[in-house]
Subunit: 370 residues, 4 copies
């Protein structure tokens, strides 16, 4: 259970990390949307390992196939099945995982929950599961761009204690992709890369913060009271592997302000009602107000490290897990397209819900009807 996200644009991912394939079924994508396989593949390429010196050197081409729901280049309105087949039989490398619980991984909790797990890898808890999310997100992004001109840009805000200031209103994907750290501030990015290299040499790992901005968001997205737009964004972020925190607008930092400092004053310009500041991060009362949505997700340091660790095996015996293999010392740069995908899934879901309820999206009628 729990493998489906969204209500109007429903995404169900499937597949274990070391099974035959992983992928996604999308139910609820509107018909007649032009989709090229290349649009999906390019997002998957941003996600996959082996892209750069600071990511894992495993080679996973992650070639997507579309098996249903698209016909002659257009969506049919029927379920879209996208799969990526495993090419690399890596079972042997993972034999040591058969019986022990890797610290701060999901081995133990899955075993506790199900009484069984695919011990050849992280199973559903692996980052490989996010392939389906990114594939679905590519379609969601396309739809949002075509329908509303809505644009989503994610980037690395912080690695370990190294943080960048980024102007969310102007940052572009080109800025982000300019370096392997995916941090648009080149100087800070260089320091991040250096620190990640050190972590690799130390057999250690690092976490960080991904910030994401959605621009040109129509007002009115988000459903009171439980399906607030920021509530669904929070769920989307925390559903990602290694994510331990979420904030929107000023988030935790806003606590140090008073109400008079924090409130966003309204004014009117040609574009309609606007706010002078955007401490709310584009969402008020759980509903988008037309300002840029700005949110952040905190990712803990990767649990896989190249050092010996105390742990327990399936028989309940204390043991030591040896560090081994080549792993990402920091997955945060690779998380950027995944975060963007989840934001796209949330926004497209709410746009379709709003269209169903109100017949239109983004139309603002200020005056009450009489």
């Amino acid at each position: 259970m729990g493998n489906t996200f969204g209500r109007a644009f429903r995404v169900t991912t499937w597949g274990e990390s070391h099974g035959d394939a992983v992928g996604v079924v999308i139910d609820g994508c509107p018909p007649q949307l032009p989709i090229e396989l290349a649009e999906i593949q390019s997002e998957l390429d941003r996600r996959r390992p082996g892209q750069s010196s600071i990511t894992s050197q495993r080679r996973e081409p992650d070639s997507a196939q579309i098996l249903s729901g698209v016909f002659e280049g257009l969506t049919l309105g029927t379920p879209i099945l996208i799969g990526v087949w495993s090419e690399d039989a890596r079972g042997k490398d993972y034999d040591y995982m058969r019986r022990l619980f890797r610290p701060s991984h999901a081995d133990y909790t899955y075993q506790a929950k199900y009484g069984i797990r695919n011990w050849k890898g992280g199973g559903r808890a692996s980052a490989r599961e996010t392939i389906g999310r990114v594939a679905a997100g590519a379609i969601a992004k396309k739809l949002l761009r075509r329908e509303f001109g809505l644009e989503i840009v994610g980037y690395v805000r912080q690695i370990w204690k190294i943080a960048a200031e980024v102007d969310a209103d102007s940052v572009t994907m080109t800025d982000v992709e300019a370096n392997v750290a995916r941090c648009p501030d080149a100087d800070v990015a260089a320091r991040m890369i250096e620190r990640i290299d050190k972590a690799r040499r130390d057999g250690d790992s690092l976490g960080g913060v991904v910030e994401v901005v959605a621009r040109n968001v129509p007002p009115g997205l988000g459903e009171p009271v439980f399906d607030k737009l920021d509530a669904d964004l929070a769920k989307a972020m925390l559903s990602l592997p290694a994510c331990k925190g979420f904030e929107v607008g000023t988030g935790f930092h806003g606590i140090g302000l008073t109400g008079s400092e924090h409130n966003d004053a309204f004014y009117v310009d040609a574009g309609g009602v606007r706010t002078r500041s955007n401490n709310s991060g584009g969402i008020q009362g759980g509903v988008s107000n037309g300002e840029n949505i700005v949110a952040r997700a905190a990712f803990k340091p990767t649990a896989t490290i190249n050092s010996d660790q105390e742990t327990v095996d399936e028989s309940g015996t204390a043991t030591v897990m040896k560090g081994r293999g080549r792993h990402d010392p920091c997955v945060v740069p690779r998380a950027v397209p995944i975060v963007e995908a989840m934001v796209a899934l949330v926004l497209v879901d709410h746009a379709l819900r709003q269209r169903g309820q109100s017949g239109s999206v983004g139309t603002v009628n200020l005056e009450n009807p009489v």
Copy 2:
């Protein structure tokens, strides 16, 4: 839409702030659970305004009625309807709100979304909506306590820049209720109260952080991959009025650690598999591991302040909103029972889901079946 929370223990709240009544329908509460109205009322009393010098002086007795689903003191397994009727006709006080959009409230976004709103108050965006959540949470808490001995304690960790250190493993509800700030550290509490008093005198407002701990949580709660336990907690918190951030375990602070510092080593003791540290906050891979769940929610400073503010009215004309009335300069202490209620709703939902899938809750079978 979006007024329902949970899948197995489904809670639907209803009612506008200044309508006839507010309340909740609970669908999925197991049968034969003993419920006294007093158990619900005592939680509502913790939530309501007018409790203390630092909360709003409005008088809302908020007396609950149970209209269905309970028979001779036991739940029937049928929908439980709980309502609180409005006693105080305050329409006149809010007449100034008829046309203008209060800054950082939901007036504008609701108007943009629906083209109409109950202007006599915040409608569904009001904290009054949380009455239904707290009533449902009282039942969820009872169920969790009876079935698992599970205990949930929330408390104020920070107000403005004043933060307390609290031992989540030992703090009790008595500690929390010992002062009106609901901060278990009496010295820090005193400083918080003083600062809140100053905010009132300034016509200003403050935000803060509520921390919550769930103890004696059975392992195995949480559904991969989208309905992770922490993902649903994040959604639950962000669905609360004024909440702008969520974190579990080390959260945003964990980013400053490396993997070798952050990983929670497993060991075995009489109680089964345990972790030496609890940086994960009791959840790994989205599933509870039996350690205490520790999470935090950030609440921005209350949007209502007693100062003049620039804003816009429904005709799109710039105007100034005058400060007036008696409002909570800081709602964070009142948020404590609401946060607890939401945590209870998440946990009970996942416990029922786990019971449906696996036939039992909290049983750990370490070895794979053969």
Copy 3:
């Protein structure tokens, strides 16, 4: 669980037959729909007992109250709570029901399922539960009428072995309400009424068939493959007390035809693509084709009869249940507004879903896009 119907227009009923109140919460009703309490009450009046000589003589005024979601005569887009309070304390009459299981009622199955039941009546299995459905249906009907001019007319097609032929294309509500049998054929109605009177004198009961037609239905409603329009209609009908069968179009009678006799040939007229016959009942492949939707629901004879019956009590002891009291010998005429309400709930739900997916409802683009 299971007290919610619909996905986009979500209806949750609550309340036991002999509890304090029964009612409904509607989540997903679009904003700005004008609603008068009288519109709801008039539908409830068609449903309630004591309307005529052939229905139960119990007096239940069933006065509805709207507690939320409507403001100054318009829906807010927020949950609409409608309740009907019980006025008649009838506990004593039902004391004999405390321990025995009435044959072909839900007493035994509820006890088996929950281990507890409100023995003072049928609880949730009572026809009284349908009050919430009819109230929600009144709003759904209003929305369908205003948005599409869509019209729903139900009527009694058969009582016991007495069947009427009715022209579904032309029958009006006035025809239906012209007699207490709610059968638009006056002669057949007279025979039905006579037979129902005899059943009452015999201490016995009768069942029947309600037919319903929806006219001016936009093409394109219904979601492949599980949420077909007729699948949801079937579920809606079978969810009604005493309903044991459903058919659409020719239904069970169509089996006696061959494909060449049964197929509905397409032709074109000013109104677009039409079918020469309507054996499909307005639905093909689970999606409305613009022809009138015609469906039927079979209701078994009422389980409550005024005769002695063999049964068992809660201790598992054989006993005899004495006939007593004044009950409807035939509830089928009262089922007419309930059936209409359920059809309205299905159609409005699918209309909102279609609007969300495709941005419009009822627009037919014949040619494939290129």
Copy 4:
């Protein structure tokens, strides 16, 4: 939308008739269930065309692959992806379908709904979509058999006007599979086969009734009030291609009885509370009572016939569709395993829901708690 069935055992089918593959994702299957591919394949073999002289001669081996969710022969508790790849490129045969709407097929309604369709076949409206249902149903059957000894047997009750009497309490799958009509009465089966042969020679088609019995059903399955067990069965049946009617117990025939004839008297025997008759078809108040569940589904004559038919093309021009090709003159025998699969999906879903709510399935506590 609408491609998912079930709440606790969630089945999502995907794939167009003439696309690359069709299949299913199952979310919510409990862990540790032994599953062999052969168990799934044998059910698919009962469904596929080309089995016998009275079915289509198209050759579709329909070989299933399991891509996720099963590990070393056991379910993992994670999503199970099963696919069947298309082997036969039949695009050319269907070229005539590019522009015209086949009468009583879904071509027109899909075009009206989506503005696009995969014209190379029925797309999602094809019987080929049911492959995923049958595959999922095979797993559901296995689970029901292992957990409860629950057994489901379907069979052909009627073809055209030729009906059989079958003893639902004793009929076996061996009886059913004894002839190609899947009617356990050999004499009636012979007449059915003869009539189907005649229909083929006539270029015509026939419909019929499939009856299904579920034996050894635990009491207490089914959720009041909308998710009644029979309501979900009705939806399941009407979601099948060509199904136009559903009934449970006496269904439409029960209308000719009075209440005193129709009521099922309770008595007690060693097995607990039983009913003397089973006019209710094993379900009372929407909840199983432990008696055999008996239900029927009516299938209209197949829309595809080998005769010329009046129709319209995509440009809105009247045209004649020529009969051609080799098609099943009667799909009803092939519908038997599909009906069984849907019944299994409904029952397993309700069993898991009941286990979540009440902690056990089938335990009957007669006395109210005190």
